[in-house]
């Protein structure tokens, strides 16, 4: 882990940056129209960045030193499937956690 000064630099920069992202339209744009192409890309930010963040962790888990792990793969697939089918975040987390714990105990 990095030093304390670096952590606070990250905290403050992220705080200012996150506030800026939240404030930019609300505070500065008002009710003027925004270009369609810009909004069109922003619509897919979360659904692109979050899977990109976890995909390497699912395929090459830290806990197994990067070796693919059947229990973690199965838990990941079940989590995203249940979340997709039920639209229920908590149901997805619950099923994924149960499968991970169950398969880890069995395998």
């Amino acid at each position: 882990m990095s030093g304390s000064t670096e952590v606070w630099v990250v905290i403050v920069a992220l705080g200012l940056g996150s506030f800026g992202l939240r404030f930019v339209f609300l505070g500065l744009v008002g009710d003027r129209a925004m270009p369609d192409w810009f909004l069109r890309h922003l619509r897919y930010t979360a659904v692109a960045v979050l899977p990109a963040l976890v995909a390497p962790l699912v395929v090459w888990p830290n806990a197994t030193d990067g070796d693919p792990d059947p229990a973690r793969l199965a838990a990941a697939i079940a989590t995203v499937s249940v979340g997709y089918l039920t639209k229920n975040v908590i149901a997805g987390m619950g099923v994924g956690a149960a499968i991970l714990i169950g398969l880890t105990a069995l395998l």
């Binding site: 630099v9 992220l14 996150s18 992202l21 897919y44 659904v47 806990a63 973690r72 979340g83």
Partner: protein, 229 residues
């Protein structure tokens, strides 16, 4: 019922998501070696779950500070979209109140507030602001409190319960309901393929390539396929 209390009632169920998620951040931050004031500092100053987890993970990998900040802000880019989307409802508030809304604009407060504004369009701007503050009350202060609880109990949680995988599971559970149109599904698929293909790039910069690639794929798919589900 006043707008504030109506918002409080509608926001209360989100406690079920906020409590475990903020405790998880407290646990992971403590396990990564962050002292309590830094852990709480993240939750109060940044107040964004996904960005906090991203920053924590990259700090843990000793990525350069600029990469940590840029990657976590990339995860938070959707906040600008929330800001744009809520502006027609709250844009007439005085600047200092818009500043308060901006600080508390997170996934859950945004989603619940816009849902209500569209369902009940005849509200005044004052009522909409009161409703937003009501929704925020059971979401944001508990985020701070249970970050501290997680940090305090974290060290007593035994190793090797698969906790390394709690973060992927939490994100994947959120991604499932987001994939509501073909364009969203294409964006996610392209992002995953690019993330795996560019995983060799140093300091998780592959995440930025994959995120931007997924966004472009989603926007292009929307143009060709339309935005209907």
């Amino acid at each position: 019922m006043s707008s504030y209390w109506r918002g409080l009632r509608d926001g209360a169920p989100f406690l079920l998501v906020i409590i475990p998620f903020s405790m998880l951040f407290g646990v992971l931050a403590t396990e990564a070696g962050l002292p309590l004031h830094e852990t709480l500092g993240f939750s109060v100053v940044v107040i964004a779950g996904a960005a906090q987890f991203t920053a924590l993970q990259l700090l843990n990998e000793n990525a350069p500070t600029l990469v940590v900040i840029a990657s976590a802000l990339a995860v938070n880019l959707r906040m600008a979209m929330y800001s744009a989307s809520i502006t027609p409802h709250l844009g007439r508030l005085p600047l200092w109140k818009r500043g308060i809304v901006a600080y508390f604009l997170v996934d859950q407060t945004y989603a619940q507030a816009v849902l209500d504004y569209e369902k009940t369009p005849n509200q005044t701007t004052i009522e909409k602001f009161a409703y937003f503050m009501g929704v925020m009350s059971p979401i944001c202060p508990p985020w701070y409190v249970f970050t501290v609880v997680g940090a305090l109990v974290g060290e007593t949680i035994p190793e090797n319960l698969g906790l390394d995988f709690a973060l992927p599971i939490a994100f994947l559970a959120m991604v499932g309901p987001m994939m509501r149109t073909p364009a969203h599904r294409i964006a996610a698929l392209v992002a995953v393929i690019l993330a795996l293909a560019f995983a060799w790039l140093p300091f998780n910069t592959g995440l930025l390539v994959a995120g931007l690639g997924g966004m472009i794929a989603g926007a292009q798919a929307e143009i060709r396929l339309g935005s209907a589900s």
